[in-house]
């Protein structure tokens, strides 16, 4: 058994494809983490004081323009300035002239007031060649400015400046999650812990899916390859199929762990680079806020989940005689692992729904769902342990079943056997 584990591990880790994928993924992780820093570099360039923006104001019937100009004069750090545009009376020629200025980059955009009832604050249209639906710094600033001007316009002089300032101040509200009952795993979390947990859950789900699916696939592919190269006949006469299968599963497990270790190392190195520390702090990401229990549970569920999927992959691999047929054969398990991944991924924002709760007890989806609930939702310890026990029972049952299928499957060549044929063969082989 030890020999098989070692042989499987050594030969997989040495393959070019494994080395290349691992390096590519590690580079992707590195790129991902550093992208925050790179993006912040670009943002700084944009935020330079040199580029002043001019917004032209057209059709100003209610005298909003002077008030706006006054507002921006007070905001010393704003790069916006308002220029009143005297219309010629004909809207078409005005538009043409403004568009010329836009093209010449004399102005960043122009604000058109639509005529409302007299004495009412007008509605505005901001026109620019570069409009973003989500808003950018210019539109945001204009909105704030117009809001302030509107307050002045309506209240006139009935409020003091201090009162006006209070009115215009944004509301501060920070978020904090509390657990409603005692003895639950999802303890009170501050916002920073929440962000850290969010990231960790995301990463763990992703790693679980990636490594379990990839190594699972490798197991199936290896078993099929051994079968199609007929070395299987020598192997099964040397060691029992059971220790052979579990040796392979264990060996691949170590391969998966190695891969994870590489990723974790890549993350750790990158996060601790000086330039990244600053950026992460700015984004309120503090990895030291991670609950170590979450990591431990995550590892437990990863291991259990991996074994459950791995034995199935091995069983399916043993039924197929040719590598070409493998993709089709492992489809059901692929779908199962995808379901497990996506149920959790789509529920990242809503970790306490009934779907996630149910999924966290079903062995195939429980590894991901339970990690999600542990990290972000609310879950009682007895639920976690029940889920682990269910998972163990499932591993036992499916491991036993897979071993039987494996024992039969490796001796069957030709077309992929149906369940009926497999049962028949099991009987014939007295397995």
């Amino acid at each position: 058994m030890k020999t098989i584990v070692g042989f499987t591990f050594k030969n997989k880790v040495k393959t070019k494809s494994f080395i290349v994928t691992t390096i590519i993924l590690a580079l992707l992780v590195t790129a991902g983490i550093n992208s925050f820093y790179v993006m912040s570099l670009f943002n700084k360039d944009e935020g330079g004081p040199a580029k002043a923006e001019v917004v032209a104001m057209v059709n100003d019937t209610e005298g909003v323009a002077p008030a706006l100009q006054e507002y921006y004069k007070k905001q010393s750090d704003s790069k916006l300035s308002i220029q009143v545009y005297d219309g010629s009376g004909d809207p078409a020629t005005d538009e043409a002239k403004l568009k010329q200025d836009l093209a010449a980059k004399k102005i960043a955009g122009y604000l058109v007031a639509t005529e409302g009832k007299a004495g009412e604050f007008p509605k505005f249209i901001y026109k620019s060649s570069n409009i973003r639906v989500t808003g950018d710094s210019t539109t945001n600033s204009l909105e704030t400015a117009l809001g302030s001007v509107k307050t002045d316009f309506i209240v006139a002089d009935s409020l003091t400046d201090a009162q006006k300032k209070q009115l215009s101040e944004p509301i501060t509200m920070s978020l904090e999650q509390v657990a409603v009952s005692e003895g639950n795993a999802g303890t009170n979390q501050t916002e920073e812990q929440k962000i850290a947990a969010n990231i960790l859950v995301y990463v763990m789900l992703f790693l679980f899916f990636m490594t379990a699916y990839m190594t699972g696939n490798m197991i199936a592919a290896e078993v099929t390859a051994e079968k199609s190269s007929r070395i299987m006949e020598i192997l099964i006469t040397s060691v029992s199929p059971l220790s052979q299968m579990f040796g392979k599963v264990m060996g691949m497990f170590l391969v998966g762990l190695t891969q994870i270790a590489v990723f974790v190392a890549a993350v750790a190195v990158n996060v601790n680079l000086p330039h990244n520390i600053a950026v992460l702090k700015e984004a309120h990401i503090d990895m030291s806020q991670i609950d170590p229990m979450l990591l431990i549970y995550g590892l437990v569920f990863y291991i259990l989940g991996y074994f459950l999927f791995a034995v199935l992959f091995a069983a399916v691999g043993s039924m197929v005689s040719r590598t070409e047929d493998l993709g089709q054969a492992i489809m059901p398990i692929t779908l199962l692992s995808l379901a497990s991944f996506y149920i959790s991924m789509f529920s990242l924002a809503t970790p306490n729904t009934m779907l996630v709760k149910v999924a966290s007890f079903i062995p195939f989806t429980s590894p991901t769902s339970m990690i999600l609930r542990l990290g972000l939702g609310e879950v009682a310890y007895w639920e976690v342990w029940l889920s682990i026990v269910l998972l163990l029972v499932a591993i036992f049952i499916f491991g036993w079943l897979s071993a039987k299928i494996y024992r039969t499957g490796v001796l069957m060549y030709g077309k992929r056997p149906s369940w009926k044929e497999l049962r028949k063969a099991m009987k014939a082989y007295k397995i």
Binding site: I4, N11, S229, I231, T237, S238, V239, S240, K424, A428
Partner: protein, 300 residues
């Protein structure tokens, strides 16, 4: 006590009897020939001997005992369809396979080097299987079957796909292994190999044993049916001899088919009256002929 005893073994797949009441015994230092057309039940028999599948009836005994896991160490297997890991070095996988059969790494390595030297290919130690020619891959496969010094070796189609030089080389090594005391169960379609290597044979046909026993005795049971006659010129009236069924003219004489061994003497007398006879032989039936006779009837 023989090393391998197969007693009244039956294997049924669904409604088909793959093997029907087979008996055979292989002694120590013996190569036993298991013959049969494709689908006759050879591979199933071998798989049962290997413990891959269990017989439905009957017993298989190894040194007098039933099957147990420990036997894996004592058995070697050269499967019909060859296969090793194509992308892994010869040394790594053969040592691995030997380790799986309970050999220590050091011993396995030493044994591998011995065999590579024996085949005059020590340079393959660090090569990958896919880099070797088919014949050399066969040699590696053979090494995989014998590297752990097994007592019982199963060889399914041992020499298929080899050139004559390599067949000779492998035959020599099989004999060596036999002389060291191994019991070898051997299957092949090449009857001349069986004649050279085996003392006892079993011919299977459609799951049943049709012929079994000592090769020489089997041959004695079959009548001699042809005569080789070498003369310095033409011999006439051979056709007229009673019992002659067929006369073929060869470069140096005749090959004459007979239905009765008495006819052979008559042929010799007739020939000596006319010419100088420099060769005369009443030929034993070849195993090939025996096999075709035993299996050929009803073989579609």
């Amino acid at each position: 006590m023989n090393a391998l005893q197969v007693e009244q073994v039956v294997k049924v797949y669904g409604d088909k009897r793959a093997v029907n009441q087979i008996n055979l015994e292989v002694g120590r230092g013996e190569i036993y020939g298991l013959l049969g057309a494709n689908g006759a039940g050879k591979t199933t028999t071998m798989r049962m001997v290997l413990g891959l599948i269990y017989p439905d009836e009957g017993n298989i005994r190894y040194n007098g005992k039933g099957y147990s896991k420990e036997l894996n160490r004592l058995m070697g297997y050269l499967p019909e369809e060859r296969g090793l890991y194509p992308k892994i070095k010869v040394s790594e996988q053969l040592v691995y396979l030997a380790q799986l059969r309970g050999m220590s790494k050091v011993d396995a390595d030493r044994s591998l080097k011995y065999w590579l030297d024996r085949f005059n290919v020590p340079e393959y130690y660090d090569k990958k299987i896919e880099e070797l020619s088919k014949g050399n891959q066969q040699k590696m496969q053979f090494i995989a079957a014998v590297i752990h010094k097994p007592q019982i070796i199963i060889m399914d189609e041992a020499f298929s796909g080899l050139d004559p030089v390599n067949v000779e080389l492998l035959k020599e090594t099989v004999k060596e292994v036999r002389d060291e005391g191994a019991s070898i169960l051997f299957s092949t379609h090449r009857m001349e190999h069986v004649e050279e290597l085996c003392q006892n044979i079993t011919i299977l046909h459609k799951s049943n044993t049709v012929l079994q026993g000592n090769l020489k005795e089997i041959k004695r049971q079959f009548p001699r049916e042809s005569v080789i006659l070498g003369t310095d010129g033409e011999v006439s009236e051979l056709h007229q001899i009673t019992g002659v069924t067929k006369v073929d003219r060869l470069e140096t004489g005749y090959k004459i088919g007979i239905s009765d061994e008495q006819a052979a003497q008559e042929i010799l007398r007739t020939a000596m009256q006319q010419r100088t006879v420099n060769r005369f032989e009443v030929v034993e039936p070849t195993l090939n002929q025996i096999f075709i006779k035993a299996v050929g009837e009803g073989h579609e």
